[in-house]
Symmetry: C2
Subunit: 256 residues, 2 copies
């Protein structure tokens, strides 16, 4: 019989994971969110029941996926009833052992930037798996392989390093794009002007290594440009400080 | 008769520009660099004469391209002999008027990250042009269109904003990749693990706008994760500070 699943959370990760599982033929029994409206939104997409009390959780599911913010994982674990199925969280920086009040548990960490409104091919999303034993391993690997072509094992230490790498190379990179977007918009310039540059930067870093690919005023030690840029950024203390610290960090990396 | 060109500088921009011009059939007469070895390296690629004294510059060329660091442009301008041809610099953040001791002058700014060792299709490099009159306009547009399909006019103010946007979305982005590279390397993890994430991040920012595409702990306000990450970065004060300021800047952007 098909494995049955309960999803705890209704955010970006919960949405993409439950839709991928549903599309692979696994019934989603329930979607939990503290905000019942959010639970309804996702539940209706995956034909599940929406709940907003953890005590209402179905006890007989095969897998419980906790896809909530890291700080909420502990609260969910405490409030959940006893269950026999496998309990897994989806967080990059949380030890698997936070789940050790359950008998069978693990982690299924999608190593990708996921936004509800943005579709993507989930088969290409790397899934990093950790588990506490053979039952959890069997269930997690079966489901992970059913939805992704890039399943690999990663213990908690490795996962944490990858998560922090992801913050720098995805979350922070996107924020720098957002700053460029705002700076151009203020002068009536379209962000799309940066498209060839952004694409080449990414491609260069992936083919040459980012250490060798570095260019720009800080790399050249061009203090005159850097001073002028900082003057232009004087009206925004965050942008000014980000410019300074990143330039100094580049200088330091290549001074050694 | 074909326009003749003198290249002042032998760095990344000088190399890509002179090779593109040479390939388009324009003779490069001379390559100047203060370091004669660098002049020789580029000169041999484009069949030009290497020189290391500005007083040796050929007086009858049609175009003189000054592709040196911003701080050196003023020194080059002062030391150059009188010439009748068009003099153009290639800098994003330097006013065109730095060249006003010449009769005909302008700017040809390649809006792309260029590294000597990395080939790229120069026809796709946007070239931003500014000039002080019809002769400079005619020469610069002819040569720019001969080597790129993306030639457009941009005055000094517009060019400066684009340059600072480029520093954030290319130079600084690459540095964040370099930091992720170092962090992963220390744990024996390969940078290529980040490839799907890096590609999706770029594609999302370009299709959705980076403002809407933001994800991650700072966007979610997940203080527990951020504190743990900062602890992991304690051994490198630059990485720690970069993590803090970028996280705060994200929080601020979405708090408004």
């Amino acid at each position: 019989m098909d494995k049955t699943i309960v999803i705890i959370g209704a955010g970006n990760v919960a949405t993409h994971l439950s839709m991928a599982l549903k599309n692979a033929g696994y019934p989603i029994l329930q979607v939990f969110s503290r905000k019942i409206d959010n639970a309804f939104t996702l539940a209706s997409l995956v034909e599940a029941k929406a709940i907003d009390k953890l005590s209402d959780i179905e006890r007989e599911a095969d897998l419980y996926i906790i896809a909530v913010s890291d700080v909420a994982i502990g609260q969910v674990v405490e409030a959940m009833p006893e269950v026999k199925g496998v309990v897994a969280h989806t967080a990059g920086s949380v030890d698997m052992d936070v789940l050790n009040r359950f008998a069978r548990y693990g982690v299924i960490y999608p190593f990708q930037t996921l936004t509800k409104e943005k579709e993507l091919d989930f088969r290409k999303v790397p899934l990093l798996i950790e588990e506490n034993g053979s039952v959890a391993r069997r269930i997690l690997l079966e489901l992970a392989n059913a939805i992704s072509d890039h399943v690999q094992k990663a213990n908690s230490a490795k996962r944490k390093t990858l998560h922090i790498g992801a913050v720098f190379s995805s979350n922070f990179v996107n924020h720098l794009y957002a700053i460029a977007y705002e700076l151009l918009k203020k002068e009536g310039l379209d962000f799309s002007l940066l498209e060839p540059l952004i694409k080449e930067t990414t491609q260069k870093a992936l083919t040459m290594s980012p250490i060798d690919a570095q260019t720009g005023p800080a790399r050249r030690g061009d203090r005159a440009v850097m001073e002028r840029h900082k003057e232009l950024l004087n009206s925004n203390s965050f942008y000014h400080e980000i410019y300074s610290i990143l330039s100094e960090s580049i200088s330091k990396m290549y001074a050694d």
